[in-house]
């Protein structure tokens, strides 16, 4: 008899995680490419560009921001998290050793890694943007407020970016898992979300999405902000695990 091998959950998760990093390495490459494209767009000046003129003086204010890079990173990460829940990618977990729990946990690991990578590179991208303007000058005067940042601010910025990316990818993954439960949800879930947004826009009293956004955006304490994200993300992860734990595969 071939001896039976014992595999602990943790062992399986680690192996699947490494397998995912290796198989989806191209995600990191495409993310950087997307960020560079966003950087190019941002380098020309984006939102809030305006000109004021009086007498014979014309003042043109151009706003340069790393937000574009971050938004592109969010979209990329979100797409990636949904893709992981598609049947083909789910089935890869069952080609070799794994259970539904171990597969989900390896996916968490992968998405957290992707969030770390995306958050750090997006923040560095905005530093690169600053450098470009510092050295090229952009033909004008740089208003220094918010231009120079301390290493502490840089790290905080990175941490916030990473946490937001983890939140978005978790939400994407959860939505993907929900949609996989039944084909009709592929239409119903987006319809529900879009419908609610319009409903909220039409009714002043309804404040679901604005409350949700304020819950994170208005939080001034870094500690509480991290706690909120970790809590919500954990709930979504647990939900995704529970919803997919009885699902038939292959």
């Amino acid at each position: 008899m071939m001896s039976l091998t014992e595999t602990s959950l943790w062992d399986a998760v680690k192996k699947q995680y490494v397998f995912k990093l290796q198989s989806y390495a191209n995600f990191f490459v495409s993310l950087v490419i997307v960020q560079l494209v966003a950087l190019l767009f941002s380098a020309g000046g984006m939102a809030g560009t305006s000109g004021i003129g009086w007498n014979n003086i014309l003042v043109e204010v151009k706003l340069y921001s790393g937000t574009g890079i971050f938004i592109f990173t969010v979209l990329c990460t979100l797409a990636n998290s949904v893709i992981l829940t598609l049947p083909f990618y789910r089935n890869i977990d069952f080609s070799f050793v794994g259970s539904r729990l171990s597969g989900n946990m390896a996916n968490i690991g992968f998405l957290v890694t992707a969030g770390l990578f995306g958050g750090i590179t997006a923040t560095l991208g905005s530093i690169l943007l600053r450098n470009i303007h510092y050295y090229t000058g952009g033909g004008g005067e740089i208003l220094k407020s918010f231009f120079m940042i301390t290493p502490g601010e840089l790290v905080t910025g990175m941490a916030v970016a990473v946490l937001y990316l983890i939140l978005f990818s978790t939400a994407g993954y959860f939505a993907g898992v929900v949609v996989q439960l039944h084909r009709s949800l592929l239409v119903l879930l987006p319809a529900l979300i879009v419908g609610l947004i319009f409903y909220e826009a039409a009714n002043e009293q309804i404040r679901i999405f604005s409350r949700l956004i304020e819950f994170f955006v208005f939080e001034r304490s870094p500690f509480h902000f991290s706690l909120k994200i970790i809590l919500i993300a954990s709930l979504l992860w647990i939900g995704a695990i529970l919803l997919s734990n009885r699902k038939e595969v292959r």
Binding site: M1, M2, S3, L4, T5, E6, T7, L9, A12, K15, V18, F19, Q22, S23, Y24, A25, N26, F88, Y89, N91, I92, F94, S95, F96, V97, G98, S99, R100, L101, S102, N245, R246, E248, V249, R250
Partner: protein
């Protein structure tokens, strides 16, 4: 010890019954052929055993545990079929390396030798392989993983005759050197019967037969000759197939419960006594009518 034990196992997909009240057990270190016509429930049974699908009712145990979503079963079971999902980004040699990390008993030397023998290109991507090449690659991974339970579900899809023959040899060689439990589902019973020890025959989700392969070959016998004589000899016996030959001549396949003298008498009475191959027997036992396709044309 039994590797798989099934009692009253049923599986429904909505209103379709895929398996119905199936009971059997598979002993460790045997090669079992799982045969049956299309839609008999072979793949469903194997996927339940591998822990991919949930049973609807009854009991199934693999390595003494319920297999669904079971890490222990997954770690000791390898399931090979023609739609094994593998990352589109890895080439064949990277995929082998990845698979290797999952299985402690993995034999990398064997994998590389087989790889070489079947002249697979290590730098090619799995998704770009032809159907037969894909099957060959999946088979190599399945054999090299050396899992205590190895399941091949229609593993020869797209393989040419030469590759299939090599595969059967490879499977047998590796099994003899490293005994383990192998289940092989296939339509080509004639090709694989020599390597099988047991045959489990399914029909419409139910067990029709579960026998050692050598007993299957003697299970039935065919008598051919004048209709009345055939009828006389087969009276009271279980008739599996009846075919008309010409005006007054028929062929009947019946359960082989004849004594030697009875068979000699049949010969003396002018009947031909013919062996019924395992493949033909399985076809007879699973067809809906005793006359087979002929019944479609003889509507009397």
């Amino acid at each position: 010890m039994n590797v798989i034990e099934c009692r009253g196992l049923s599986k429904r997909f909505g209103r379709t019954v895929a398996l119905h009240d199936l009971s059997f057990s598979i002993k460790e270190n045997t090669i079992t052929g799982l045969v049956g016509p299309n839609g008999a429930g072979k793949t469903t049974l194997l996927k339940i055993a591998a822990g991919f699908l949930r049973k609807t009712a009854g009991e199934i145990k693999v390595f003494s545990s319920p297999p669904f979503n079971n890490l222990k079963v997954s770690a000791n079971t390898f399931f090979v079929d023609d739609n094994m999902a593998l990352p589109a980004t890895l080439n064949l040699s990277e995929t082998l390396d990845a698979a290797r990390r999952f299985y402690p008993n993995w034999d990398h030397q064997l994998a590389l030798r087989l790889f070489d023998y079947f002249s697979l290109n290590p730098r090619q991507l799995h998704k770009n392989l032809s159907k037969g090449m894909k099957s060959t690659f999946n088979m190599i991974v399945g054999l090299s993983a050396r899992c205590a339970l190895t399941i091949f579900d229609e593993p020869t899809v797209g393989m040419d005759a030469a590759v299939r023959k090599d595969f059967y040899r490879a499977l047998l060689q590796d099994y003899l050197q490293h005994p383990r439990t192998i289940i092989f589902s296939s339509h080509l019973l004639k090709e694989i019967e020599d390597i099988l020890e047991e045959v489990l025959l399914l029909r419409e989700g139910q067990k029709r037969l579960h026998l050692p392969a050598d007993q299957l070959r003697e299970y039935a016998v065919g008598l051919r000759g004048e209709e009345d004589t055939v009828k006389r000899f087969t009276a009271g016996k279980e008739i599996y197939r009846r075919e008309q030959f010409g005006k007054n001549s028929i062929f009947a396949a019946v359960r082989n419960s004849f004594t030697k003298t009875e068979l000699q008498e049949a010969c003396a009475a002018g009947l031909e006594v013919l062996p019924v191959s395992a493949e033909d027997l399985c076809i007879y036992l699973t067809s809906r009518s005793r006359g087979g396709i002929d019944d479609v044309f003889n509507r009397n």
